[in-house]
């Protein structure tokens, strides 16, 4: 009799233990929509399920050693004068997302700051091509050879669209559970900034075009047209 009681108690305890474990395993999750993590140089924009547009903001100083001309198809040193800001964006939600970008160029800065938003692997055979950023831009048919105004207009339309309806500009899609390295290339437009005022010692090159407090904002929204609207 005692043995039977002990056996029954053992079975009951085991069953209860399993039931408790299963209960804990079935608990739902609570996730914030997003968090922003700054870790020295590495920038992370991590977002979860998107009920509203999530944003990440970083303020940068853009220091450019020389101006350049995007519309000059003979300019092979374009990539050498870029400053590229890199942000790792992670979609920790369960639905695909799109990441758009905005730039606030700050006040009191010289004119002529230009930018292009891209991700690694945008162009095929990237490693084999000289000037991969310029090649990526060229692949989007944004360069109108010799025409600065038209090239800048095409670039602005590509980056930001018309800002109405489904024309909100460049976005990068990120599937759930995926992290992508997003990059923004900055350069100074030669036509807008003009020549530097003084000649310099080539052993001691200083940044001629400095743009302070340039605010980069990434916006993560659902991967559907109309999910993000520029204000």
């Amino acid at each position: 009799m005692k043995k039977k009681t002990v056996r029954s108690l053992r079975c009951a305890a085991a069953f209860l233990f399993v039931a408790c474990f299963v209960y804990i395993a079935a608990l739902p999750a609570t996730s914030a929509w997003f968090y922003v993590q700054y870790d020295g140089v590495k920038k992370d924009f991590i977002f979860g399920d998107l009920d509203v547009v999530q944003t990440y903001t970083s303020t940068e100083t853009i220091e450019l050693y020389a101006a350049t001309k995007l519309e000059d198809t003979g300019e092979y040193l374009f990539d050498d004068v870029l400053q590229i800001v890199q942000i790792d964006a992670a979609n920790e939600g369960t639905l695909p997302a799109r990441v758009y970008f905005s730039i606030d160029e700050g006040t009191g800065n010289p004119a002529g700051l230009r930018y292009y938003f891209f991700e690694d692997g945008d162009a095929e055979n990237e490693m084999l091509q000289a000037g991969p950023v310029k090649r990526k831009i060229s692949a989007q048919n944004l360069i109108i050879p010799g025409n600065n105004a038209a090239t800048n207009a095409a670039l602005a339309l590509y980056n930001f669209g018309t800002g109405t309806g489904n024309s909100q500009g460049r976005y990068i899609s990120i599937a759930p559970g995926v992290t992508k390295t997003l990059k923004i290339a900055f350069w100074a437009d030669y036509n807008a900034v003009g020549l530097p005022s003084t000649l310099e010692d080539t052993d001691n090159v200083a940044a001629h075009y400095v743009y302070n407090a340039v605010k980069i904002t990434l916006h993560a929204a659902q991967d559907t047209d109309g999910a993000f609207v520029r204000n």
Binding site: L9, R10, A13, A14, L16, F17, V18, A19, C20, F21, V22, Y23, I24, A25, A26, L27, P28, A29, T30, S31, A32, W33, F34, Y35, V36, Q37, I46, G48, D49, D51, V52, V53, Q54, T55, E92
Partner: protein, 168 residues
Amino acid sequence: MMKKAGRALFSLFAAATLLLTGFIVYLNLSGAKAYAVESNSMQPTLQRNSLVFIKPVKSISDLEPGDIATISFNDNSGVFTHRITRIDTGKALIYTKGDGNPGEDPRPAPFSSVRGKYWFSLPLIGTIPLHFGLKNTVVVLLCAAAVLVLIRMIFAAVQKNKKRRQMT
């Protein structure tokens, strides 16, 4: 000696199971809920993989700035747990911010979306629902049960064999 140790272990196991069961029953009877913390937005207050327990609130006056609340998304597809920064009692809106985030959340939540107020949390236990999930946990438990039954059968067979040898 072995039997005594076995009995002691079983008593411990039974006591722990009873406590856990009692706690879960109390949780459910009091209307409290538990959620596994999936992200870092409430760091350092709530660590990822911890389990947060919340108690229901009856009215907006039960909440005040500084409280941590669990709020459902507009489409009820999930919940988030953030700290209340301010309350608009006129419009019944709750403004929140993750402790680990630099700014307030983009949009306030209506009080009707509030699932409850923070009660307490336990570290690490959230790993089970977040990283194992229900399916894997059941599989692991079934395998563990099968292994235990097998060990018991082998042990019993060995004991039987021993007894038979002693008799002959």
